[in-house]
């Protein structure tokens, strides 16, 4: 027998012995995700990641996920996708093939989630989406995709409903980023606005890379609009808000997607005052959770950990982990089909609100139960703070109307 044959034989003989040994890796669940540490989606994606990191730390500190006699700790493998779809495709493949991720969390934004979903479904990996609202991704017959947040169609429903009470004769300018998420939101919103009897005087999209909104703001003024609905993600939304303020566009109402829901939006100072944003969650909410932290507990510990106030991206990052944890505990298994089955059956309330997804093949995984609120930047004791203004039963303050930010 040649020496290398001897080695192979010895290795084969020893293999069952190693297999029988308890290995640490077996007691750890690997969850993969990408984060936009750089690029245009950085602000919201980092917030989402903080939430996921906090969930992992909480879980591991409490001993892990209990399945039968085992306690599984969680390891998050995270890569920077640079806010680029091409990177997401490469990295999710790597997470599955090289890092052997057993479960996945979606990246931030609808566009990146749609890209990641192609990979996760291809490999049959269960993925929880906490940062992608566009419904289209969930309407392709996917089996292992679960959305934890309200779909894009309902993002600005609260703003339209609030306007019907505050200014039923408002003339709406809809100006939004030319990306899948924003287009999906505004397409649905404009249908709702027209149904509510509003006149839409301007309907335009802009390139997501736009840095100067001066000509667009002039167009809004020329249209005679009194209410603004639109935006996209953080950089364009924040710039738009500042220029609407600088150019005193004379709008009575401004609802901008995503950007005002971030704490960083307060950097705009006076330009932020009165701007409202649809929010998946606000720290003032008062759900009674069936499991996991309470709202107050989450707020306090998040602030203690990161020295920041939690926003909805952070909360959604946390709840993604919490839902997966609960599903594994319900299934008493880490088999993806059994966990998927548990996620399909779950109808629960956490600190983030309700969770229940559609289970029919055409809409499988689409979030059906979670409700959004409308938050507005208001001055409280000399400090800019977001207050929930809609729905009325959840409000923490009355809406400011007309807003001062963009008036003459």
């Amino acid at each position: 027998m040649k020496p290398h044959s001897l080695l192979v034989a010895a290795a084969l003989a020893a293999a069952p012995m190693f297999a029988a040994m308890p290995a640490n890796a077996e007691d750890t669940i690997v969850i993969g995700m990408t984060e936009s540490q750089t690029g245009a989606l950085n602000v919201d994606s980092v917030a989402q990641q903080r939430g996921a990191d906090m969930w992992r730390d909480d879980l591991n500190a409490a001993g892990g996920i209990k399945v039968g006699n085992k306690q599984y700790k969680v390891k998050l493998v995270v890569y920077d996708d640079q806010s680029v779809g091409g990177r997401v495709q490469q990295l999710y493949t790597r997470l599955i093939n090289q890092d052997h991720a057993q479960f996945l969390f979606g990246p931030y934004s609808s566009g990146l989630c749609a890209t990641a979903a192609v990979i996760s479904e291809q490999y049959g990996k269960l993925m929880i989406i906490t940062g992608g609202a566009e419904a289209k991704t969930l309407e392709l017959g996917n089996k292992y995709l679960f959305q934890a947040i309200t779909p894009a169609d309902y993002y600005l429903s609260g703003a339209v409903e609030a306007l019907t009470k505050l200014d039923p004769k408002a003339k709406i300018a809809a100006v939004y980023s030319d990306d899948p998420f924003s287009k999906a939101v505004l397409a649905a919103t404009l249908v709702q606005a027209k149904k509510a009897g509003f006149q839409v005087v301007l309907n335009e999209s802009y390139a997501p890379s736009t840095t100067d909104f001066g000509p667009i703001v002039n167009k809004i003024i020329s249209s005679g609009a009194t209410a603004f609905l639109g935006g996209g993600h953080y950089p364009d939304g924040a710039t738009l808000a500042r220029q609407i303020h600088d150019q005193k566009a004379g709008l009575k109402w401004i609802s901008i997607l995503v950007a005002p829901a971030s704490e960083k939006f307060a950097d705009l100072k006076q330009a932020a005052l009165g701007i409202s944003a649809p929010s998946q969650w606000e720290p003032q909410e008062s759900f009674t959770p069936q499991f996991g932290p309470t709202v107050a507990d989450f707020n306090k510990r998040f602030h203690d950990k990161f020295k920041l106030a939690a926003d909805y991206h952070a909360a959604s990052g946390y709840v993604g982990g919490l839902l997966l944890q609960h599903a594994i505990e319900q299934a008493q298994s880490i088999d993806p089909d059994k966990v998927a089955d548990a996620l399909n059956k779950m109808d629960v309330t956490t600190f983030f609100g309700q969770y229940k997804v559609a289970t029919d093949p055409k809409h499988h995984g689409l979030q059906m139960a979670h409700k959004m609120v409308l938050a507005q930047w208001q001055m409280v004791n000399g400090k800019l703070q977001r207050q929930v203004i809609w729905p009325l039963e959840a409000k923490s303050a009355d809406a400011i109307f007309p807003i001062p930010a963009a008036s003459h």
Partner: protein
């Protein structure tokens, strides 16, 4: 009608700042045939200098211009010796790759330091209101300062000994050397000055719009369009090109969907390159 007028004025104001930004890139090209791909990053550096200085000392944003002008110049000279000097006179592709590589390093460092989150420097200067349209004070001040700096550059190149040396090197490096012009030092100075202009324009842009580490790419692209419109290597042409671009944006937006503006700009870019390969205001000689 007033809306179109407002758009045109707005375009003119922003166009002057675009022009100033492009003057840096075109000065460097005119003197040493180097396309400086760190240009966008230098604009961003100016923006962050504005943010850091105003936050640290609480001074008016416009008082940051002198230190940024000097700091930008020193950084530019250092960059020249590090990544350009050995490549002057070689095929332009080499300096293009060199500055591209340095740009990647700088973007990486800046991302490490500041991340890619957005920064904002609020500037409250009363604007001018005409009817329902307001021209923000910060836009007016930035445009006036850009015009002054551009005029200063013009006078410097025309009236000073060093400016004439810069023009002489741009016109014919060998001949300038023969009459005793220290060409290497002039090249280093020109590169430093070009970078300095980029940083200063970054300060002015930073007073108008929020910014991130990655914002420079867009302005670099606009600088290329402006350079093509204004003529390669012609700083005064760059200012005219900037104004032309701003006016185009202002004129087009009221009539077409805003998402088409970029398409129209690039169609114009290609058309100008076909019709005037050296730029609309290109000079016949290489003199600046």
């Amino acid at each position: 009608m007033l809306g179109i007028f407002a758009s045109i004025v707005d375009g003119l104001l922003v166009g002057l700042v675009y022009g100033l930004a492009a003057m840096g890139i075109t000065l460097i090209w005119g003197v040493m045939d180097v396309i400086n791909l760190t240009h966008g990053m230098m604009i961003v550096l100016g923006m962050f200098a504005l943010y850091v200085i105003t936050n640290a000392f609480g001074i008016s944003p416009y008082l940051t211009l002198p230190p940024v002008l000097i700091g930008g110049f020193l950084i530019g000279v250092a960059l020249y010796w590090m990544c350009v000097h050995r490549l002057v006179g070689r095929p332009p592709l080499m300096s293009l790759l060199s500055t591209f590589a340095v740009n990647l390093v700088l973007v990486g460092i800046a991302t490490g330091v500041w991340g890619t989150v957005m920064f904002n420097v609020p500037v409250s200067i009363p604007g001018i209101t005409v009817g329902r349209y307001t021209f923000p004070g910060a836009h007016i001040v930035a445009a006036v300062l850009a015009a002054f700096i551009a005029a200063g550059l013009y006078l410097f190149l025309r009236r000073t000994r060093l400016g004439k040396a810069v023009r002489a090197v741009a016109n014919n490096r060998e001949a300038a050397e023969l009459v005793g012009v220290p060409t290497t030092r002039v090249l280093a100075f020109s590169f430093g000055f070009g970078v300095s202009l980029a940083c200063v324009s970054g300060v002015l842009i930073g007073t108008l719009f929020p910014f991130t580490v990655l914002t420079g790419d867009g302005y670099q692209l606009k600088s290329f369009i402006v350079t093509v419109l204004g003529g390669f290597g012609n700083p005064v042409g760059a200012l005219i090109g900037g104004v032309a671009l701003g006016l185009l944006e202002g004129l087009v937006t009221p009539f077409v969907p805003v998402s088409w503006t970029l398409v129209i700009e690039f169609v114009l870019f290609v058309l100008v390159l076909i019709a005037f390969p050296g730029g609309v205001f290109a000079r016949r000689s290489r003199a600046l």
